[in-house]
Amino acid sequence: DIDGVGRKYYLELVLEDVLDKDSTVNCTAEVLYHLGNNNIAPDVQVTLEGELKNTDEADNIFYHRIKSLEKELVAENIPDSYGNVPPEMEPIRLLAWVASGYVIWQNSTENTKFQLAQIKHVKQVKRSDEYLEFDYMILLHEMVSQEIIPWQMTVLWHPQHGVKVTQ
């Protein structure tokens, strides 16, 4: 506890590659939840003790696949009721996961535990610049209240420039 400021947590974490369970990286983090005001996102500092895998090849394949689509990508219910995700939608889902991480961070307090439950709807928005843009309608599950919260997010992505989320 830090008087007048909030509560700080010191964490030691292991990051595990979702696509390769044997690939792990240790890291440490400091998270500061601000006193009183629940409208400010917690401060987060992360230090990686190691390197993240290079994903250029997969990134570029996905990037070019989407760029060369004639019609804008549109999809819904990922995963579907039975938990299935068509293989070509896997990157779309992973992107939503990353982007929802940002949304979750911005909305977390010491009393919340969010998970991405489902992508209700995703629509690609064609851009004249080099970014890919996707409009997502996602459902977040909050563990304590058990509520399902719909959330609209616009996600920009580029293999070299990373992810940007505008709510």
Binding site: S81, Y82, Q115, H141, Q146, I148
Partner: protein, 384 residues
């Protein structure tokens, strides 16, 4: 219905085709709009069965060449439907335990299971749901002179946790398939009776299949039918309404108008109360999170037999992990998860059932409630 592949050669043919599409309201697959039809370019259109002859005659009359691309659209649709829902046989011999089943099929499964295993299994009436559906539990009991203690397990108290009823069905199958050959199961049944309620919240489960996959509560109407559902796992008479609940119907953790206000809750509570002196263990199966939770949720004060509770749970978690390496956290709800009151597990312990546990099955949030069916088998196997 058929899909036609047409290539108009001349401007007149293009015009005729456009006319045909607009007047007959044909479902143009390629291009998107009639105005995008050009001479020499492919046209694909779906023609309803009733109009096939008329369209063919018209194309012939105007000397427009065409080919039938898809002779039977419905056949293609049926083939492309996810295997999940077609071709289920209702008999347990053909019953697919690695897929999720709607309530209708689960009802049929229960009947069949009793029929094919009548020496061991009896189906019993438990009560009725809000929407007047019948709740049944299965009693698995080896005939013997001695009175046996009871292990009770219920699944599906929360509608969206589909892996839970899937586990109850799997569990029953495993017991029945292996009780003669497996010494552990055989000894188990010599000394204990198993009572399994495959779906507690039947109305909610059906609703999650038909209307809203992520529905949690039951379907009791409130406020003149403007709001639905009580969280059955906040509705039991264990510190009811005190913490970790909402008094507002629109919340997912609405505890109801009073303890045991819901018929589903009453059906379970009445039965368990009547047999409590014989019930050794109460298990309630949920998802997700990978936890084995002990009492209580309403207070951090440990239950009287907390050492025993933890010891057994830890052994269970270790055995589970031994199968596929899946790690489960063990502890009391109020300490490792969150506070809640009115849970069935707390209530069971409070009325005297010594071993009372909530299992939260796979996973940890990657899929959450939408656990893919290929995970049904490993989840169930490790949980056995």
């Amino acid at each position: 219905d058929q899909v036609f592949h047409i290539v108009p050669e001349t401007f007149q043919q293009v015009q005729h085709l456009q006319h045909l599409c607009s007047t007959l309201l044909l479902d143009l697959w390629k291009p998107q709009l009639p105005e995008d039809i050009w001479a020499g370019e492919d046209v694909h259109t779906r023609v309803p069965a009733s109009l096939v002859k008329e369209v063919k005659d018209s194309l012939d009359h105007h000397m427009i060449s065409y080919k039938v691309l898809i002779p039977d659209v419905q056949e293609l649709v049926d083939q492309s439907m996810p295997k999940e829902r077609n071709s289920h046989r209702q008999v347990p011999e053909g019953y697919v335990y690695t897929q999720y089943h709607p309530m209708e099929e689960i009802y049929q499964w229960m009947t069949q299971i009793q029929k094919s295993n009548s020496e061991l299994v009896t189906q019993h009436y438990l009560g009725k749901t809000v929407e007047n559906r019948t709740m049944y539990y299965l009693q698995i009991s080896q005939p013997s002179d001695k009175t046996k203690k009871i292990v009770w397990m219920d699944c599906g108290i929360h509608a969206r946790e589909w892996i839970s009823p899937a586990f109850c069905q799997w569990f029953v199958k495993e017991i029945l398939q292996n009780y003669k050959s497996d010494p552990t199961i055989s000894r188990f049944l010599q000394n204990l009776d198993l009572y399994v309620l495959p779906v507690l919240n039947i109305d909610g489960y059906i609703y999650s299949w038909e209307k809203d996959r992520l529905w949690r509560k039951n379907r009791s109407p409130h406020m003149n039918g403007t709001c639905y559902g009580t969280d059955l796992n906040r509705n039991f008479n264990s510190s009811w309404g005190s913490i970790g609940v909402s008094y507002n119907c629109s919340s997912e953790i609405f505890c109801g108008s009073g303890p045991e206000s819901e018929p589903e809750t009453r059906a379970v509570a009445q039965f368990i109360e009547s047999r409590k002196s014989d019930i050794l263990c109460y298990l309630t199966i949920h998802s997700y999170g990978q936890y084995i939770l002990t009492p209580y949720g309403s207070t951090t004060k440990p239950p009287s037999n907390s050492e025993e509770l933890m010891h057994v749970a830890e052994k269970a978690a270790a055995a589970l992990m031994g199968k596929y390496g899946t790690s489960y956290k063990v502890g009391s709800t109020s300490l490792i998860l969150y506070n809640n009151s009115g849970s069935s597990r707390d209530w069971a312990h409070m009325i005297g059932i010594p071993l009372s546990y909530t299992f939260e099955l796979r996973d940890k949030g990657t899929h959450g409630f939408l656990l893919p069916s290929y995970q049904i088998q490993p989840t169930c196997e490790e949980t056995m």
